[in-house]
């Protein structure tokens, strides 16, 4: 009896067998078991559903053995903290997604949700198992239902380590973060062959579904990684910033790490780093790395909508989400893509009790026909909704410019910031001096003997009066004008006092955010 048990178990654990494993290695990939070995702390992985088997009989499938149904599920520890996983295995019937393959996925996510444990999915599948017909489709529906009902309760991370095409691709894209392996990760609603037959478009898989497609163009891939090892390393790094679930204060405490970086550290370079002239671009990353613990910044959506920067960092050991303008790209102005990027990140942080630090150097939302017709108003509205609804600690620093709708859209005191500070070079206005003066004094300028001189004079007057941090400070719109070198100290002190921030609001089903 025990021998039979051991033999059965050993056969299934071989998955697709040596030949298929060799091919997987030739593609530059690890097998699912190798990935799990590397991912989990040694000896901590417990597998569930090893013996699960499909029940299809059509097309000779009744004789087909598919070890573990092509997906390994279970739980283990990553740096000492529990994580649940479903890892597809391309060596077993190319990891095709059938009824029981999907059921293993959704059962894993259901348990992760009920126990408050983060879920990581590793995608490496040739697609739907068509031999199972509608049973496969039903299983997609189970999976989508499980993951959506778990969204906001536990963090969910998708690792695109191989292909994930067709309806199945809704699984990774609906998780909180998508990682994509540069050479092997491919995601799309349909592959090139289907696209060709249905639409006539001739396009190869890499162009249609590779990292350029999703990390740069569609904005669906949050983190690009080089290979399986890099992918798992970066996933572990991201997990270190995230609490296990949405409702345990204790689980947030587990994300605190001693970083050895003095919370009140002064960085004198910040006092001269940002050009005073508002039209000169610079790289906001240089500011971010100087104020966070040890310069350790985990950037999300690095290659998409680069006019804003979002990502995770630590302040005095506690994780925080950073949202920052990037003046170096498209003037740091907010367009539709940037607004989407910020809004979803803010909502993730809010769901999981991660404080938000906002760095403004923003001239406004992008204006003009292109963005107007793309719907900058409804996309920009997502930022307002997400910041105003967020109940986590929110701290805003005006580094240089904060104008117009972007002042409210990127979280000012009256749209939810608990603290708002400005650097002495800050310009906090409804519009820039040139725009304001040319509207207010339009007639006077036109009728003047020397319109150019009059215009310049009026601009200078408006600039003198309003383009500074002091008008805002006088009215209490900002809490203080601070030395740039002391920014980190002010953020950490604010985070200290906001540690136990609690907000209670009247019940509603949800808001009608402009999706």
């Amino acid at each position: 009896m025990l021998d039979e048990y051991k033999q059965k178990r050993e056969i299934i654990k071989q998955m697709g067998g040596p030949k298929a494993v060799e091919q997987q290695h030739k593609r530059g990939s690890w097998t699912a078991r190798e990935r799990l070995d590397y991912f989990f702390d040694p000896g901590t992985f417990t597998e569930t559903g090893l013996f699960v088997k499909h029940r299809t009989t059509a097309f000779g499938m009744d004789k087909r053995e598919i070890p573990a149904e092509g997906v390994i599920t279970g739980f283990g520890k990553v740096n000492g903290r529990l994580v649940m996983v479903a890892a597809e295995d391309y060596t077993t019937m190319v990891g095709t997604f059938g009824e029981y393959h999907g059921k293993k996925f959704s059962q894993t996510i259901d348990l992760a949700k009920d126990m408050g444990i983060p879920f990581v999915g590793m995608n490496d599948s040739g697609g739907a198992r068509l031999q199972e017909g509608m049973d496969t489709l039903q299983s997609y529906a189970w999976l989508f239902t499980s993951q959506i009902l778990a969204s906001g309760i536990i963090p969910q991370i998708a690792l695109l380590m191989g292909p994930c095409l067709g309806g199945q691709a809704y699984h990774p894209v609906m998780q909180d973060f998508v990682f994509q392996c540069r050479q092997t990760g491919r995601m799309g609603i349909a592959g090139p062959a289907f696209v060709k037959t249905q639409t006539g478009e001739d396009i190869d898989l890499d162009t249609l579904c590779g990292v350029e497609a999703h990390a740069v163009k569609s904005g669906e891939t949050h983190v690009v990684v080089e290979d399986d090892k890099d992918c798992l390393d970066k996933a572990k790094e991201l997990l270190s910033f995230l609490p296990a679930n949405n409702n345990k204060k204790e689980s947030r405490k587990l994300t605190y790490q001693e970083t050895g970086d003095d919370p009140e550290r002064i960085d004198l370079e910040l006092d001269t780093l940002v050009p005073e002239e508002p039209y000169i671009a610079y790289d906001m990353h240089d500011v971010i790395v100087r104020i966070i613990d040890n310069g350790n910044f985990f950037e999300i959506l690095k290659d998409f909508a680069q006019n804003v920067i979002v990502g995770f960092a630590r302040f005095g050991g506690r994780p925080a989400g950073i949202v920052a303008s990037q003046p170096m790209c498209a003037a740091g102005a907010l367009d539709c893509d940037a607004a989407d990027k910020v809004a979803r990140f803010v909502r993730f942080c809010d769901l999981f009790n991660i404080p938000l630090i906002n760095l403004h150097d923003v001239p406004g939302y992008w204006i003009g026909s292109t963005e107007e017709w793309k719907g900058i108003l409804r996309h920009g509205a997502k930022m307002l909704y997400s910041y105003i609804e967020a109940t986590v600690p929110k701290i805003t620093i005006v580094v240089r410019k904060s104008f117009a709708g972007a002042y409210t859209g990127m979280c000012c005191k009256d749209t939810g910031a608990d603290f708002m500070f400005a650097w002495p070079i800050a310009k906090i206005c409804i519009v820039g001096a040139e725009t304001a003066a040319s509207i207010i004094f339009a007639r006077e300028i036109k009728e003047s003997e020397d319109p150019d001189a009059m215009k310049a004079q009026r601009i200078a007057e408006y600039r003198e009066l309003f383009e500074n941090p002091y008008r805002a400070a006088e009215r209490g719109f900002i809490d203080d004008v601070i030395m740039p070198s002391e920014t980190r100290k002010h953020i950490n002190r604010a985070l200290d006092i906001l540690e136990d921030k609690t907000v209670i609001r009247p019940w509603r089903k949800y808001s009608n955010i402009n999706l």
């Binding site: 170096m328 498209a330 003037a331 740091g332 102005a333 001239p363 204006i367 292109t370 820039g432």
Partner: protein
């Protein structure tokens, strides 16, 4: 041939090279301005300016070709 395209809509405020000029990687080719920000457009490679498609003061759209490099 490498086309230098504008990363944002705006206006050309300065052109820093001439047709036929040898340029080095990272050298500023021209400056475009939008939303109160001046963005230097830099050469992606060591090359030579073949053609300049814009003039100072000209309005441009995102994706417009500003220059052709060899």
């Amino acid at each position: 041939m490498a086309a230098i395209v504008s990363s944002m809509p705006g206006r050309v405020v300065d052109i820093k090279v001439k047709v036929g000029e040898e340029v080095t990687q990272g050298q500023e080719l021209c400056i475009i301005e939008a939303m109160k920000m001046q963005m230097p457009v830099k050469s992606p490679q060591n090359s030579k300016v073949i053609d300049i498609k814009v003039e100072v003061g000209q309005g441009i759209k995102k994706g417009d070709v500003l220059m052709e490099l060899d």
